[in-house]
Symmetry: C3
Subunit: 394 residues, 3 copies
Amino acid sequence: MAAPGPVHEALAALPLVDHHCHGAVTADLTPAGFASFLTEGEAWPGVSPFDTPVGVAVRRHCAPLLDLPRHAPPDAYTARRTELGRREVERRFLTAAGAEAFFVDTGCTTHPLTSPAELAAACGATAREVVRLEQVAEAVAARGVEPDAYAAAFAAAAEEAVRRPGVVAVKSVAAYRTGFALDPARPAAREVTRAARHWLAGGGRLTDPVLVRHLLWTAVDLGLPLQLHTGFGDADLRLHHADPALLTDWLRLTSGTVPVLLLHCWPYHRQAAYLAAVFEQVYLDVGLALHHTGPARCRAVLEEALEITPFRKLLYSSDAYGLAEFHHLGALCFRQGLADLLQARVDADELSLPDALRIAAWTGRDNARRLYGLYGPPPAEPARDPSGRPTRKV
Amino acid sequence: MAAPGPVHEALAALPLVDHHCHGAVTADLTPAGFASFLTEGEAWPGVSPFDTPVGVAVRRHCAPLLDLPRHAPPDAYTARRTELGRREVERRFLTAAGAEAFFVDTGCTTHPLTSPAELAAACGATAREVVRLEQVAEAVAARGVEPDAYAAAFAAAAEEAVRRPGVVAVKSVAAYRTGFALDPARPAAREVTRAARHWLAGGGRLTDPVLVRHLLWTAVDLGLPLQLHTGFGDADLRLHHADPALLTDWLRLTSGTVPVLLLHCWPYHRQAAYLAAVFEQVYLDVGLALHHTGPARCRAVLEEALEITPFRKLLYSSDAYGLAEFHHLGALCFRQGLADLLQARVDADELSLPDALRIAAWTGRDNARRLYGLYGPPPAEPARDPSGRPTRKV
Amino acid sequence: MAAPGPVHEALAALPLVDHHCHGAVTADLTPAGFASFLTEGEAWPGVSPFDTPVGVAVRRHCAPLLDLPRHAPPDAYTARRTELGRREVERRFLTAAGAEAFFVDTGCTTHPLTSPAELAAACGATAREVVRLEQVAEAVAARGVEPDAYAAAFAAAAEEAVRRPGVVAVKSVAAYRTGFALDPARPAAREVTRAARHWLAGGGRLTDPVLVRHLLWTAVDLGLPLQLHTGFGDADLRLHHADPALLTDWLRLTSGTVPVLLLHCWPYHRQAAYLAAVFEQVYLDVGLALHHTGPARCRAVLEEALEITPFRKLLYSSDAYGLAEFHHLGALCFRQGLADLLQARVDADELSLPDALRIAAWTGRDNARRLYGLYGPPPAEPARDPSGRPTRKV
């Protein structure tokens, strides 16, 4: 690890934009419940989720914020967490994250999570919302719709969802549903109707390849930045189908439309970097990998991600989910990993200090500010008149 | 490379469990014969197999054990090896490996190799056997069986093979035969019969996709840990079909059954790590890559493999084949690479020393001890009464 | 970065063979025109191509050769470049590259580029030519040919092209046209005719899978070393279809014929290394990645590429295109990255100094000398009598 220098200082002081995260669980967690959030898998008998890189990182870097010694044992950690109470814990970690803004994916409903507003309130940051389109589509299906009206109903519901104040982006988890080895073309209306007929009859999650393609193209029509889960995630994934290189043909077809933000990417971050280097609309982050690999490997992952990525194309996200520890750890890992990387280049005279400072500010904050139009309309906007809603609404 | 510290000392003293290796050749090797074992390819005219990372590592780290200077020239090395004789060479390297146990895949019959018992006897370690299922299936075919009796005959033969004392695991080289882009479902009986009819008529190696799937499901029925070759191997492989991520659907279907040990993995060790992080039954090692990349790169490969792997999920293997040098080099590379990795984290205060020592002991020995039930029944068990054999035996 | 030592000195003094590059643009470049050559994508509004790893490397390592301070701003850089004039700039960078020979792919005609002879004349190096087979095939089609005469006409044109003095190799960009997920078998004559009928009717680039396969097999018949673009390139690529592992079956079928040189390879350089380790005819380089990742990452990329690559199998290329800066930067990155890698191993006593010096000379020069027969016939050979042309010519 590089000797700390001015880049470390600059990044420590930089308010980050965490352009993709989730809320923290609102339930009070038992020790086992806490441990289960440490892993993207499940907690397994006889194997503590603390015995992982992220578990080690929590004990090292989060314990001190709970007034515990570094490397505190798991029991002490969870006991102290309970003692302090959920809200105080959240306040400490979210504040420590030092973010000026959190963009929150509100579409994952497995556990009750803090809302964007609650997240922001806990630490004085700004919050914005990211609309998960699969959730919108599934809500349309759940409300009931005729197959031949599905496309219009989904488009209207998506448009309504993104018109709500505070929404800055949409997101798709197509990587989980079908993966990216899809026909890249916009599906014809009758294909969508046929697929919708089948799906609406059976119900359940949206996993039909035609409808997932249709969802991605609907995202393009919405005109907002589109976040795509790629790479690393939970057991529900086929990792090799989440390689963003599989999106190449679709990116070629949608060139000139919306910005596409490849989230996470690991272990395909070099493939993501290639796409960001050759397609104007493509950006990437290495969220999730940051806290899961821990500070010991963040520099290495960032080094690979930045091998060919233009410096205006990398963004910061934590992809924190459930535990406010992760909002903090993601930020800490990003700051430390990027500062080590940049400072080492400055020290070797491969990069000038002013350039290093610009790159730090761009990737930690300014690329997101620019891309999301300094966050779009604020959520405090008064509720709109229902009559102003899109007429296509079913 | 990190300054040596207490983690290095601990790993130097730790008796390893080498949970996947092969025997050493029993023939006396000519210089050219020796060189041909240095490569996973073949020896080519004009290109010395010594001019490789593993060749450099042998000259650096094996020469001193033959009383030669470090970096001894190839000629001197092979001359001294001949002078000492095969048994003495084996004794020195196997002893230097410092393993408490070797688990030996006995299914590769290209060259006559030392048996597990001979391997153990040479250095006072324990030896156990790993049964290669393709060999069992091919022996069933060679003995002659009706297509509709193949499934039962193979199951009985496999059961008999694994009931022999000292057997701790089964192994499949499906990666070589079809690769992992297989239908994950258990094939129906009539599919197996149809495929067996075709195979038994033609003979040769088991490469039929239905029968390879059937073999994997038969492995599940056996109830023993299942070792799977993945990633790097010889020229007989399609590397991209040996990406363990391709196993995802099959792992989902077999969840809750037998432990699955992903062997080697390189260059897909990050994909393997993902599977180990999200599937309870999945474990991995980076055997083969250790001695082939040599000490100069073992830390780097281990760093990548451990980015998200839970610390109870990594095991040690050498995958040594043919040369006892590799049993030694694998152990040396693992010890040095892992010690460098862990000590650097301790030195940076990213990991506590007690945690580092636990991780070293787990990955080098205790994960294997636990997973293989402290090695299962010993091979010294008296021969069983033939009447105790499974009744399904053909 | 390792402390400079004797390996650095040896590599600094070694005349390199740049076995795959292109010419420099012959037009005088505007600042925007210059910037557009910095990227494999296009120049995008609001995002300077200087804000990339390669842009940083140009300002750091090329500015001083134009008498500017290190890290000179882009405006100053392009202004000074204009002031000096194209020829002087070329002379400085090509001389600084320190190559004894450039092998130039003359088949990319997007921009007018310096010829091999001009490139050589600018710095006193030797130049040889690499014939791009897709260009030959497309010229045959453009001249007009009957479908059933296409195969013979293409073979004759290719043979004629490679018989020109100074030609040392052929190249295919099959990676761009179809990718490598092709049927590996040599297509039957009637298949070729059928595919040619379709292509010749429609015109345009050669992208028919049968004809691309046919082109690769025609390359085998020519008997010259075959360079294949793999991995990283411009937006016209599907990166995952350029994974060289996809070539495995074809390499097996063509074993014992021509040397195959996998160019670039990143991010699949480990896959390429596997192929080079197990197939006698396979070689690789990490050109293009060298200057695009810049000196800060060249050692890392080389470390990965060399994990298992036999030391007689790695070659040097810059893949410089358009800017003479890249001929220089590629050489600088290779020298620095490889010297850091080797010197660190010498310093750690993992490699002897004489071995390190041999590996440096092999990979930088001697492997290419050997493989290309010390460059084949010189281009200065007098023009051949037309009657000596192959009789198959249409």
